[in-house]
């Protein structure tokens, strides 16, 4: 337990340093800061992986059996997705948006974990089935990619606003070009959407397999997850077929992530979390 906490604390420090470094890089455009951010993110994700490994070895459960564990795993998925993207497209400005989100997820997870530990432990229910694992893993990685797409949308709107208002603020020239960031966001959602679909289908199969109360499909959490799926589907369709790009498409990405977060925190009578 102590070892897991130690690794998690180290991961938190790594994510925090990465957030600060990428943020400072945006302001002063010093390449060494971006390198520092990358190294801190790598160290953080390695420590986080070690913490997850220790958790699995000691509890013999997957690392997403509780809401706090899922939040922590989301942070891990976000940083992993960012680092994978960073291999192909160096976008330290995106790091400045998504690393703080990853840190917040990890931090909130740790706070919830502490609160849960104060309560008497409940034995985990039937949550380690293959279908549930597929459901959670697919949705975790989809969420990681959608957070990156959200980061792209934030950067796009900031850049768009500066260009429309003809301003040369302190951020001007430090954000990625509009065309690049728009394509990147589309690509990320194009990867995330099939994962989201697989995750939702796996969850539905598991729910229809029994053990769930009648009418589970109209549970608020389930309904919101369907809305999330529809929003991203609409984004992909409009972008690819109706050539929707620009601010409207990016507002849709921001709205999509907000709905995804609402889904996570929505009250539920049937889902494991909530």
């Amino acid at each position: 337990m102590a070892m897991e906490s130690g690794f998690l604390a180290a991961a938190g420090i790594g994510y925090l340093v990465a957030s600060a470094s990428y943020g400072a890089h945006i302001l002063v455009r010093e390449p060494r800061l971006a390198l520092c951010g990358r190294i801190a993110a790598i160290v953080g994700v390695v420590c986080h992986t070690a913490a997850i490994g220790v958790h699995c070895a000691t509890t013999h459960h997957t690392p997403f059996t509780t809401p706090d564990e899922t939040l922590s795993a989301s942070a891990w998925a976000i940083v992993l997705a960012y680092l994978a993207l960073d291999l192909f497209f160096r976008q330290p400005a995106l790091g400045a948006v998504v690393q703080p989100i990853a840190f917040l997820c990890l931090f909130t997870g740790a706070v919830l974990h502490r609160a849960r530990m104060a309560q008497p432990m409940q034995p985990p229910r039937d949550i380690d089935s293959g279908m549930i694992n597929l459901h959670v893993i697919a949705i975790l990685f989809a969420f990681g990619l959608l957070v990156l797409a959200f980061g792209c949308a934030v950067l796009y709107l900031a850049q768009h606003s500066m260009l429309k208002k003809k301003r040369s603020g302190s951020l001007f020239g430090k954000l990625p070009p509009l065309a690049t960031i728009d394509q990147l966001a589309f690509g990320l959602v194009a990867f995330a959407f099939p994962l989201l679909t697989i995750g939702i289908i796996a969850g539905a199969i598991r729910a229809s397999g029994g053990g769930f109360p009648h009418g589970w499909a109209v549970d608020p959490k389930i309904l919101l997850s369907a809305v999330t799926w529809v929003v991203y589907g609409v984004y992909l369709g409009l972008h690819a077929l109706a050539h929707w790009r620009g601010p409207r498409a990016n507002y849709l990405l921001i709205g999509g992530l907000l709905i995804a977060l609402a889904t996570y925190f929505a009250p539920t009578g049937v889902h494991r979390f909530g």
């Binding site: 260009l163 003809k166 040369s168 070009p177 509009l178 690049t180 620009g246």
Partner: protein, 458 residues
């Protein structure tokens, strides 16, 4: 030895005066050759750009007035009387030379603050000096330090950031929309004005390969398109051209807008909402202002561009103080190095002088005390050596102290006088043997070695 720069630049003289003293790139070796032929000039360098002509030199004590010497050279070069440049020339000496050249290399002295080309020109001046064999330790180090200080000032401050012309602003904005390289993007030049031509050239230099030109007079469009290696369009082909273009530069002489909101709305539909950047540098405006409200259309008129240029220049000026700090730091470091360079020969000279006196005294004693045994001689020699070392040590420390940037350079002359080295240039000290006693061979060898070191060091 004194380090000096004499020059003329855009702040002290207008082009009519400056051009008389301009030294073309190919003429620089000739100018350097003429300079080093002057007896008092030990090292020389020439920095000549469209905004300045400057002569840097290390001048020996053979000249009482180095400024006069260089002014004569420049007047001779310009084939004009000296008084023609009265009030236009500036001169800096020693430490101020470093501060000046470092500021020049950083672009602080340029017409456009922080302009990048000056760094290359300083490098060229260094290379020309090296290939002409006109520079030695001091000017080599000065120019190399200038390149380092200039680079630091540019990268560590914002003096070089921000576009400083309408064309550069247009490129800067275009890269924020389409990416660093504009490869694969199409530029449409609407109207054949000079300014749109310059702006389009800026964009093409960033990689925009295709240029379309549309003009009311088709022949003019053809002529301009040929310059860009692009294609000419008839004015009534504008809707199709707007569909193909990513960046549009407008500068027609039309009295009313030729690019309307309806035209752009239709074009955006046809181009599947791809981003469109419109640069309207015409007065009266060519593009209806309402076009700027259309999604994915970025419209900049001449006022917007001029405001951005002014803002960039102001922002650069705000960074000057930070750049000056870097330059002052580098200049202090150069001064420290230069003082140490001057101090080293003096330390050698003091030690040489003491060694020569010791050997001369030993030679005299040897003739007066022939009965001393070898052991006794060794004791006498050791005692005298210890004595001279004890005298030399505080002198050496004092010279080193003087060589520090905060040291007193005047103290060097005092030390020189105290050891009887006053008024002699390096390598010129005459050490006479007392009472006419001939110096032993060892003493001559020590003095020779000292003189050689002095020559090498100076």
């Amino acid at each position: 030895m004194s380090l000096i720069v004499l020059g003329i630049n855009h702040t002290t003289a207008d082009i009519a005066v400056r051009e008389k003293l301009a030294i073309g790139e190919r003429q620089i070796p000739v100018a350097l050759d003429r300079l080093v032929r002057i007896d008092a000039v030990a090292e020389a360098a020439v920095l000549s750009t469209c905004n300045r002509t400057e002569v840097y030199a290390v001048v020996t004590s053979l000249s009482d007035d180095p400024e006069d010497l260089l002014a004569d050279f420049l007047a001779g070069w310009g084939e004009a009387p000296r008084h023609a440049f009265d009030g236009h020339l500036y001169c800096y000496r020693d430490g101020a030379v470093a501060t000046h050249l470092f500021s020049v290399a950083a672009g602080l002295d340029s017409m456009i603050l922080g302009e990048p080309d000056i760094q290359r020109q300083v490098k060229q001046a260094l290379e020309a000096m090296q290939s002409a064999g006109a520079g030695r330790a001091v000017l080599n180090r000065l120019f190399q330090d200038a390149l380092v200080a200039g680079k630091r000032a540019r990268t560590e401050t914002g003096i070089a950031r921000g576009a400083s012309s309408v064309g550069a602003v247009a490129v800067e904005r275009a890269t924020q929309i389409f990416g660093e390289s504009l490869a694969g993007r199409t530029v449409l030049v609407l109207g054949a004005g000079k300014m749109s031509e310059v702006t389009a050239k800026h964009l093409q230099a960033r990689g925009a390969p295709a240029v379309l030109v549309a003009n009311r007079t088709y022949e003019k469009a053809v002529e301009l398109a040929r310059q860009f290696g692009g294609s000419a369009k008839h004015f009534d082909e504008l809707p199709q051209a707007l569909t193909a273009a990513d960046i549009v530069v407008c500068s027609t002489a039309a009295p009313h807008p030729v690019v309307t909101r309806t035209l752009i709305k239709d074009a955006m539909r046809a181009r599947h909402n791809r981003e469109l950047f419109l640069i309207d540098i015409a007065v009266p405006r060519d593009v209806e202002p309402a076009v700027g409200d259309i999604e994915n259309v970025y419209l900049y008129n001449i006022d917007d561009l001029n405001q951005l240029v002014a803002g960039a220049r102001q922002a650069r000026a705000g960074e000057m103080a930070r750049a000056r700090e870097i330059i002052d730091e580098a200049a202090v470091e150069f001064l420290r190095w230069r003082r140490s360079l001057e101090a080293a020969p003096l330390v050698v000279a003091v030690r040489d002088k003491l060694a020569a006196l010791r050997l001369a005294e030993l030679a005299r004693l040897r003739s007066r005390l022939p009965g001393l045994t070898d052991k006794e001689w060794r004791a006498v020699e050791a005692a005298m050596e210890a004595l001279t070392n004890k005298v030399a040590h505080p002198a050496t420390m004092a010279i080193k102290q003087c060589a520090q940037p905060d040291g007193d350079p005047g103290a060097i002359d005092t030390i020189r006088r105290a050891f009887g080295l006053d008024g002699t240039a390096a390598g010129e000290e005459s050490i006479a043997a007392p009472d006419g006693v001939e110096l032993p061979l060892e003493a001559v060898a020590v003095i020779d070695a000292g003189s050689k070191q002095r020559k090498d060091g100076g």
